[in-house]
Amino acid sequence: MLAAIKNLYDYRELMAALAWRNMAVRYKQAYLGLAWAVLKPLMLVLIFSLVRSFVGIDSGDIPYPILTFAALMPWIFFQEAASEGVSSVVGNANLIRKIYFPREILPLASVVTKLVELGINFLILAGLMVYYHMSPTIYLLWVPLIIAYTILAVLCISMVGAAMNVYYRDVATALPVAFSLLMYASPVIYPLTLVKEKLLVNQAAGEWSNFLYTIYTLNPLAGIIDAFQHVVLRGTPPDISSMWPGMVLIIILLPISYVIFKRAESYFADVI
C-alpha cells in the first residue's frame, strides 16, 4: 500500500501533466473555455428550479437554487471524474501501447482534472452565498475531507470500470445510463431531509423503513451531498448517520477495485 503511494508520488509530475493536458485539450479551441465547467451546473440549477415550481420540493429554510447547486457540485465532480476515469485507459491507448508508467495514473489524472473544475465552481458557490446573504462557518474545514472521501468513491468505480472497459467497451457506453439513474437515487434534485422524513419520521414503508433508509444511504453520494450541504450551507457538522453505510461499502469496494485494476493492468497493452 505504502509502496503504491510512493510510486504514485514519483509520478506526480506525469499526473499533473496529464491532468493539465486533459484541461488544455478540452478548452483550447472552445470559445467559452473554462466557463463550460460552470455553465453545466448553472443550467441544471435553472432546469431543476423550473421543475420544482411544478412539483414542489420542500427545501426547508435554504433557498432551493443554492441547495441544488451545492448538491450538483459534488455530484458532477463524482460523475464526470468517474466516467472520464473509466474511459481514460482506452482513451490513452497510444500511450499504453508504447510507454510504461503505472496505469492508475490515468484515472487519477481524470480526478485531478475534475478537481480543478470543482474549484472553479466554488467561486460560483461563494457568489451565490453572497447573493443569498449566507456566511461561511468554521465547519467549512470539513470540505477537503468530504472531497477526499468523494475521490475514494470515484476511484471505486473508475479503476474497475477502466480495467473492464479495456476488455468490454460496453462499460463506457452503459455508464451514462447508470449515472443518470444514480442521480435520481441521490439527493440532488431533492434534499436528503425529505427522504429522512418520509422513512425515519413518518415510517412510510412500515417496518421496512429503517432498512430502506440504510439501503438508500448505501449510495455514498447520499452521504456526500448531504454532508456538503451541511458544512457549507447549514453551518453544521456532517450527519454521520447518513454516511456510514456508504463508507463501509467504499472500504470494502476500493481495495477490490484496485486489485482488479492492478491484475488487469499488465495485459492492457495486449488487449487494448
Binding site: L14, A16, R21, N94, L95, K98, Y100, Y167, A269
Partner: protein, 412 residues
Amino acid sequence: MAIIEVNHVTKEYRLGALHGFKQTVHNTLARLRGHPVPERPLFKALDDVDFKVEEGEVLGIIGHNGAGKSTLLKMLANISVPTRGNVKVHGKVAPLIEVGAGLVGDLAGRENIYLNGAILGIPKTEIKRKFDEIVSFAELEEFIDTPIKRYSSGMKVRLGFAIATSADADILIVDEVLAVGDLAFQRKCFDRMEDMIKRQGKTVLLVSHNIRQVERLCTRVLMLDRGKIAEDGAPNIVCNKFLEQNNIKIKALHDRNVATSQIPSQEITLVGTDLLDDEGNITDKVKFLDPCRIRIALNVLKPLNNVTFYIGIHTTDFVYLTANNTAYHPVDLPTGRHEIELRLNSMTLLPGVYCFFLWVGTPEGRTSFREENISCFQVISSDYAISRQRDRAVTYIPGQWKLPGETRFIES
C-alpha cells in the same frame, strides 16, 4: 552483472477476436456444467527466448516481420508481461519505441515538450534545462508556439525524437526510429545515437530492418525467427545469415511467380529448368565465385531450323546482368524434347537472388521463345564482407591490389 536478463520468456497471444456477450455467457455456462469449451488458438509471439545483455553492450535485434522483435522490446520496456519466464532490467529505460507517442495535436510544440517529457519520466527541471537544446535539435525554433496539428509529419517526428533522446536513461530501447525524417535529419539522429553509444557508454537495444545500420552500431546481434532466437553473435556473422535468409524469402516469392508468368508459345514450351553444381547435382544455391550449370528442357512443337539460344541472368527487378548466346552455332530442332546446358565458370555476382532468362530464335532476330524469370537461384557467401556489398553493387570482378609500402600485388 548483466543489466538486462531475459529468462526463458514466452509470450502467447490468443488469435481471433474477443467473444461477444452471447458466446461468453454460453461458454461460461458450458464450463460450469463441466463441458469443454473451444479455446481460441494460441499464437506464440516469443518462444523461450533467453539472453543477457551486459552494461555498455549495443545489441541489435533483427528478424523478418512478425519475428517477435517488437514484442520483445515491449517486455523489456515493461509495457507487456511475458506469459512464462521473466525479464529483469536493472536501470532506467528510455523507450524510443515509437517516437512521438503521446504528442497532442491541439497543444503547441512548447507544451508538448513538457508533456511528452513527463510521459517519458523526465523531471520538469531537466526539461527546462534542456529545452533550448531540444528545440534547436528539432529545428523548430520558428514553430515552437504553433499547435503541432499544423506541423508536417517530419516536424512531429523530429520533435518526438529530440524529446525522447534527451531522457537520461541507462538503457535505450530503439525501434526503427532512425527510418524517419529526411536524409539530413536521419544523419543527425544517427550521429546522436552514435554519440550516446560510443561516448556516453549507454546500453542500447536497437531494432532495425536496416542491416547496415545494425552492423555499424552494434557490438552483438540477435536474430529472431518466429519467436525464437535463431542466431546470437558477432554482427558480421549474424547479419550475413540474415541477408541469406532474406534472399531465401525473396527467392520463394519469385519461385511462386515463375509458375504464373509463363506465356504460352506456339513453337516451344518450357519443360523444366535445373540449376546444377559442377558435380551435376541439382541445387538452388551457388557459392560466390564457384562454377555452376543451368540445364533447360524444351518441348519443340514445330520443327525449327537455324535457331540459336540466349541465356541471361537478371535481378529480381529485371535489370539484365549477363548474356551468353550461341549466335555462331545455329542448330536445327525437330519436334520433340530437347535439352540444353550452359556452364558458367565463376559466379561473380554478389550474394543475392537472381533469375534466368531464356530466348530462342534465329540469328536474324525472329523469336520462337522468350521468357524471363524461368528459374531463380541464390548466390551465397559465408563472408559478410562480400554479402554486405550487395546493396551497393551487383557484381564483382576479381582483382589484385598494390598497397602503399608493398611491392607486389595482393588478392583483394
